[in-house]
């Protein structure tokens, strides 16, 4: 059975989110937690991009010689791509701040164990 591209993307996104939540909740190493958070963010972005999928759709770049109504009927939905670019930038900044904090905490406490570093 050949799976629809959009359905496959949505399932992959859900899998990424579930794996990310598992990693964040159950792994003790702070870097692994951050990787889990990156999985959650990437899963959400993949889900968002999959919303714009159109079977047999063309890239949403209007070239000279294209008829406007043919382009409107056949182009994939361009909005999700713009939203995901913004979301990736936000995710990268958040990740950078978290990794910076972890560096400071590692220098202070000498450990990447969440139980030791974040425990009261």
């Amino acid at each position: 059975m050949i799976m629809d591209v959009q359905l496959g993307s949505l399932l992959t996104a859900v899998a990424l989110i579930v794996i990310g939540i598992f990693a964040t909740a159950f792994l003790d190493n702070l870097i692994k937690k951050i990787i889990g958070l990156a999985f959650i963010g990437d899963g959400a972005n993949l889900f968002l991009i999959a919303m714009g999928y159109k079977p047999g759709g063309i890239v949403y770049i209007y070239l000279p010689g294209m008829a406007a109504d043919w382009f409107a009927q056949n182009a994939a939905y361009p909005l999700p791509f713009a939203l995901v670019l913004t979301s990736i930038v936000i995710g990268a900044s958040t990740m950078a701040v978290m990794l910076g904090i972890i560096i400071v905490l590692y220098k202070k406490k000498g450990s990447l164990s969440a139980a030791k570093v974040l425990g009261e």
Binding site: K33, N45, I90, V97, I101, L105, K108
Partner: protein, 501 residues
Amino acid sequence: MNLLIPLMVIVPILCALFLNLLHKKDRAIKAVTIILALALPALPLLANYGFHYFGGYEPLMQNPTLSSNLPSFITGGVLSTFHPAITYSFQSAQQLFVFILGLVGLLALFTSVYETRRPSGVYAYMLFMGIAAMTAILLTDDIFNLYVFFEIAALATVGIVLVSNIKGNYETALKYMILGSVAAPLLLLGIALLLGVTGNVNITDIIYSLKTGMVDPQNPVLLMACGLIVFGWLYGSGLPPFHTIKSAIYSKALPSGSAMIQAFSVFTFIALGIVILRIFSYLPLSQWVILGVSLLAMILGITMAIVQTDIKRMIGFLAVGELGYIGIGLGLGTAFGITAGLFQAVNEVMITALLFIGFGVVLYQTGVSDTRKLGGLMVRNPGVALLVLLGGFAMAGVPPLNAFQSKLMLIQASLDAGFPELGVIMILLSIVTFMTFMKAFHTVYLRPKPADLEIKTETIPKATVISLVVLLVVCIIFGLFPQYVTSYLQPLATSLAGGVA
């Protein structure tokens, strides 16, 4: 288009960038911060009501010049009603919210530059960016734009905590960011589901699609989207189960920073709460969720405040509890109830800022925030003690202060809506709030000074006293003339209660 509307967001961002460049130039930071901060409450007073369209134009049906050149299948259908731009809406309610945010921001910045020996350009940058993000969240009619600024506000909050140099701030900031990095993508997922079902991110267009039957409102995907957006709302506002991390964040920031962070929480609560009411009010479950979560926040917040020994943590939990009052107003769903809830929000921002800055004087003088180690400060600062006492009375709802009016309206609204039990709970929790505050006030100001308590600084900066007086005067004015404030909120409340976008 009204150009002052985007300036309300752009000006704080430019101020932030400029102050960051001035880092380590103390005198320049002090002067420039105060001058630039004056723009924050001034801009919303000068701007006219209206809309601003970023990167586009108004809907085609309002733009005959543009639509006359387009084919009829675009201008004749629903496409002509949709918003092809990021829309910012500035009406009376937004004017009041942005003004109060700007006023608290001005006073927090004013206090911070005089309380620290070396004013920090980076700290001022974080405060200004947070204010810009919150202004955008209050004005935007685009749900993805709201998410972007929601994330910026979270980053600014973390920045405010990191700059404070209080013990344990890095650990608390990391915990907050880890939770945020789970909650925010789930909020984004909710937005993605709304986009997938309705094809829009503009809130007015989403509501139009639901009301006109273009999209089946009973689609279970919309229920899932509602749940995910509510989850993001819980994180951003500091509602249960995120109330403990939020109060920890308040305790690890400087008092001026805590005053701003609680303002961010309240305005995030209102903005996202309004979005949930606007889009999902046709789902009876959404109102029950708002009521349930708010009740839980009230009970948990106020009861957890009783056992706190750190002043800032205590005020933080009280602030979470007061959020519950706002949510009760929104959840009741009537115009009067929503007006009362929004009025309570405006009051709470000012009162909590007053308490954070007021008790912050204790931290400034002694370096201690543990109530078990404090005492006897009434003799040294009777004026500040009086201001803090009146702030506590305001939070508990003592007349003629502002929260008395909003809490009375909330109790009346709950009786009118057929929920007298909510009225009883609100009265009981107000009494507990009063008890908790008086216990803290007694331990800090009234009981004898412990022998080992060292007073590091005798004098209090005049800026702090001025900020407290201004906040208290506004609280008294709002308490004596509530109808003046509620007149700004009624149009929004009526439209929300009527289910009109």
